[in-house]
């Protein structure tokens, strides 16, 4: 009996409905409703991954495999494990919110906007579930196109500059990854990611492959010093674009490290972990300081994203230090799990922050912090949500932001005291820049008549905010379900990352 091709459905259903929406040129309301309900349907379908998932194994599940380009042994090969499954669900979840959030603020070419997000949904699921290198690369790369068009068409003042910069940065990063794939293919004659993970590789080749991957993922995550496209892209992107960019597209870089870099070039990762760790520490400390002085709210959150993703990369590359110091596998697993949780949590929190800024922007048409003040007086309900998300962003215990950061810092102590110390500064800096912004925007006296005229959340906005708030708090108090899903896969990954691949 053949299994229902759930992953294919999750990829192609949104893409096809996106194409359908594209045809609703003269019925914007129909396009909105159709887009929303199909994204909800996709989300519900994706829960099938959760219910049908086997926690006890690190094997790929929901596997689909078929020949695609036989001349080069390229396959249509899909599957998820504990590392990618939560990201798939995060993707379908975020898309619902992104589509829904755009109901009122997008007035022009609504159907194209909605279609772009549906299509991106399918492509992103494709990235997280592809197990063939070419298929992975195709999804990875094609994702740039709808995002390029979204930022370029519905973005702010400097949208053209921002979107071209975004495209070229990410394109430049990923072509090196392609060459790395081609090299490995020339060695073993297969493009399967699992075969790549298993093949032996010489030391120099591993170093070069690792660096190629590093360029690709460092741009995507983004890491210092190739992060400069992100603040530009975020500031210019429309709200839903920022949400998808921050919540999911950045995660693709982190996912790349765990799916490709660590298992495929473990010896090189062992050799060069200092590089990634130093860049992560710079991201955490230096970028946090930069975030503090931002005048634009979106830019501030964008920099805070970079700092938080620094935690992700830090957690992923602590394992070699821990093993050198203590030989303890548990600590390594904790670091990686912390990084994965941090990715999910940042997906939720950054989405929430950008949506909150979007709510204010829709009313005031400015993102300057100085234009606001005393918003709590006119929007009390909104203020409660913002405060919650800000606390989560700063890593308050009881929110999802705390769990990942805490685990990573704990793991860092096992590796090196000074790394841990530097990482822990984020608890201060993160709180400083986030709460200072909240203080200036939300609290205080009403600064001008625009703020005085603000109306509180409408029902749609309230619903979106509540869903996110529940998710953030739930993951903060009870992260066990997500951890259980990941555990077997992370343990397997640590084993792979520790096993030398030198021939």
């Amino acid at each position: 009996m053949t299994q229902f091709p759930l992953l294919s459905a999750l990829i192609w259903l949104p893409i096809l409905s996106g194409l359908l929406v594209l045809m609703m040129r003269h019925q914007p309301n129909l396009a909105k409703q159709f887009a929303l309900w199909s994204s909800v349907l996709v989300f519900i379908l994706s829960l099938g991954l959760y219910t049908g998932f086997d926690n006890t194994t690190a094997q790929m599940q929901f596997v689909e495999q078929a020949s695609w380009i036989s001349a080069f042994n390229i396959q249509y090969f899909l599957g998820v494990d504990g590392l990618s499954m939560p990201l798939v669900i995060l993707t379908t979840f975020t898309t619902v919110l992104a589509v829904w959030s755009a109901f009122d603020c997008i007035k022009e070419r609504v159907e194209q906007y909605m279609a772009a997000f549906l299509i991106m949904n399918g492509i992103m699921v494709g990235v997280f579930s592809a197990l063939d290198a070419v298929l992975f690369y195709v999804f990875w790369e094609v994702l740039l196109v709808p995002m390029f068009l979204v930022i370029g068409q519905w973005g702010g003042q400097r949208r053209v500059y921002a979107t071209i910069k975004f495209f070229l940065y990410t394109f430049l990063g990923s072509v090196f990854m392609l060459i790395a794939f081609l090299y490995m293919y020339s060695q073993i004659g297969s493009f399967s990611l699992l075969d790549f993970q298993a093949m032996p590789l010489g030391f120099t080749a591993q170093i070069l492959i690792f660096l190629a991957f590093l360029i690709a993922f460092a741009v995507k995550i983004p890491m210092f010093p190739v992060h400069t496209w992100l603040p530009d892209a975020h500031v210019e992107a429309p709200t839903a674009g920022s949400v998808v960019l921050a919540a999911i597209m950045l995660k693709m870089g982190g996912y790349g490290f765990v799916r490709l870099s660590l298992p495929m070039a473990p010896d090189a990762a062992n050799e060069l972990d200092w590089l990634v760790i130093s860049l992560s520490i710079i991201a955490i400390v230096y970028i946090s300081v930069i975030a503090m002085v931002q005048k634009d709210m979106k830019k501030l959150v964008a920099y805070s994203s970079i700092a938080h993703m620094g935690f992700v990369t830090l957690g992923m590359f602590l394992l070699y230090g821990i093993l050198r110091n203590t030989g303890e596998v548990q600590g390594a697993i904790m670091g990686l799990e912390g990084a994965m949780i941090q990715m999910i949590s940042h997906g939720l929190i950054s989405a929430a922050m950008f949506l909150a800024i979007g709510v204010m922007y829709d009313r005031m048409h400015t993102r300057e912090i100085s234009a606001y003040g005393g918003v709590v007086n006119t929007m009390p309900v909104f203020a409660v949500f913002v405060l919650l998300f800000a606390m989560a962003n700063a890593g308050l215990p009881g929110t999802s932001g705390f769990v990942g950061e805490f685990m990573v810092i704990l793991a860092a102590f096992k590796s090196n005291f000074w790394i841990a110390l530097a990482a822990a500064t984020t608890l201060i800096l993160g709180a400083a820049y986030t709460l200072w912004m909240v203080k200036r925007v939300i609290f205080g006296d009403v600064v001008n008549h625009h703020v005085a005229e603000l109306s509180d959340l409408n029902r749609r906005e309230f619903a979106i905010m509540s869903i996110l708030a529940v998710a953030v708090v739930a993951l903060g108090f009870y992260p066990a379900p997500v951890m259980d899903i990941m555990h077997a896969s992370v343990a397997h990954l640590v084993e792979q990352a520790m096993t030398s691949k030198l021939p």
């Binding site: 020949s67 690369y137 790369e141 370029g152 430049l172 060459i179 081609l182 293919y185 020339s186």
Partner: protein, 479 residues
């Protein structure tokens, strides 16, 4: 024997008969039935394609003591040429009518040039090769010069003629040196002789001349200077033709001469091709950024594509040649589409050949804008469009050949190239149309509309399912 000859030669004979009939016939019916020559041309092209399809086989048959060959490679190349020519004529007709250069001779010359290309694809002897090249080139020179009231067209025809003649001369000189060294004009004999003899200085010298001639015909840097001028100066309806099928013929020329004849000298020509490829990639991608004219930009983009095709050649293995063949056919398809978009936007007295003329096309004509989007993204090598797979297979072979550094260089250049393709998209979708040139952008006729939709669909569908075509190309290369 006679039957077999007829069968093998049928495609060329059909085109030749069509050209001669139309040349004479058009003088009789040209005034009364204006579209008849055009229609008959398309019919004869389609018919020839059907004949090839019906008798398609990957086995090779030789005629005239090995001067002429029909094999899988020749058939695939001919089919591609016929396809490109068919659509080039179809797209160009209205454009030519509006500029008063649509005459029977245009189609006759086009068919003759097509005949030359087909002979090139089938030649297995240096004389046949040269003859095919000349038939093709002379017809092309005349086609460009047909717009005789345009200084640009005359200038570019002259440039094309003078430089083309020089390149042909160099090629011919190279061929004579090879002949002097080997003592035979037949490619098969040359191949066998070279495989067993020591390399000699005379042969190397001949090889250099041949390579220069080939690089001229390909438009590979540093012999590329004619490409932008000719593409820009020719009427767009003719550039459309010029940039598609003749490039496939150039591939045929290079394949027959370099691979089937001189492959044993691989060590000598490989390094020269590496230099040509690198220069083409740099010149094509970097200088294209500075262009404001769309035709010139596409011309520079052609140069960079030629760099990629050379990359496939220089791997020196069958997979690489198949990859180069796939690339050239895909390139011709994309180029056809790109210039057809310019044709679709042009109106009487208005050439839409500046990038700025595309401003706001996303609103003015969404279908045309989407077509152009698909084509330029494909040219930039963004998946899932077929241009990506063309690059992918070439790069795979380059890496397999142990030239990973060259592959890295090529992809970095593609990223630079992506910028100017993105600029086209930017102008179409993010810019507002300027008031003064807000010409009507609707499709002028159904053949342009549906033809362009077909090209864009092909570019997308071949990208999603490239397996069939890639396997076919690999198979005919292996035979």
């Amino acid at each position: 024997m006679m039957d077999m000859m007829l069968q093998v030669l049928a495609p060329e004979l059909l085109i030749l008969i069509a050209a001669m009939t139309l040349l004479v016939g058009d003088t009789f019916w040209g005034h009364r039935y204006k579209a008849l020559t055009f229609q008959l041309t398309l019919v004869s092209i389609a018919l020839t394609a059907l004949v090839i399809l019906a008798s398609f086989s990957t086995t090779s048959v030789q005629l005239f003591n090995g001067a002429f060959i029909r094999d899988g490679v020749a058939d695939v190349l001919k089919l591609s040429m016929l396809f490109m020519t068919f659509f080039a004529f179809l797209f160009a007709r209205d454009y030519l009518v509006q500029r008063n250069i649509e005459r029977g001779e245009y189609y006759v010359l086009g068919l003759l040039s097509l005949l030359g290309m087909m002979v090139l694809a089938s030649s297995y002897d240096m004389v046949t090769l040269f003859m095919g090249l000349e038939i093709m080139s002379l017809a092309l020179y005349a086609m460009i010069a047909m717009q005789k009231d345009s200084g640009f067209a005359i200038e570019s025809a002259m440039k094309y003629f003078v430089l083309g003649a020089m390149a042909t001369g160099l090629l011919l000189y190279g061929m004579t040196l090879v002949y002097g060294n080997v003592g035979s004009l037949q490619l098969a004999t040359i191949y066998q002789t070279l495989a067993t003899t020591e390399e000699s200085l005379v042969l190397s010298l001949g090889l250099v001349f041949i390579l220069v001639g080939l690089a001229f015909k390909f438009g590979a840097a540093p012999f590329h200077n004619w490409v932008p001028d000719v593409y820009h100066g020719s009427p767009t309806g003719i550039t459309l033709f010029l940039s598609s099928a003749p490039k496939i013929a150039a591939f045929a020329l290079m394949f027959r001469l370099l691979i089937e004849g001189l492959e044993a000298a691989l060590m000598q020509w490989q390094s020269i091709l590496i230099i040509l490829a690198i220069l083409s990639l740099v010149v094509g991608n970097v200088i294209a950024i500075a262009q404001t004219n769309l035709k010139r930009m596409l011309a520079y983009s052609t140069i960079s594509h030629m760099g990629f095709i050379l990359l496939g050649f220089l791997t020196g293995n069958v997979g690489g040649y198949a990859a180069a063949m796939f690339y050239v056919v895909i390139y011709a398809l994309m180029s056809l589409g790109g210039f057809a978009v310019i044709v679709a936007l042009s109106r009487k007295g208005f050439e839409a050949d500046n990038i700025a003329d595309l401003a706001g096309l996303g609103k003015r004509n969404p279908v045309l804008a989407l077509t152009m989007l698909v084509i330029v993204l494909s040219m930039a090598g963004i998946p899932p469009f077929v241009g990506f797979y063309a690059k992918l297979v070439v790069l795979t072979e380059v890496v397999e050949a142990g030239l990973t550094w060259l592959a890295v260089f090529a992809v970095v250049m593609s990223v630079i190239g992506a910028y100017y393709y993105l600029r086209v998209i930017k102008v179409m979708y993010f810019d507002q149309p300027a008031e003064e040139n807000a010409h009507n952008a609707d499709f002028a006729n159904a053949s342009l509309r549906y033809g362009l939709i077909l090209v864009a669909t092909l570019v997308l569908m071949l990208g999603i399912l490239p397996d069939g075509l890639l396997t076919l190309f690999n198979d005919v290369m292996m035979y």
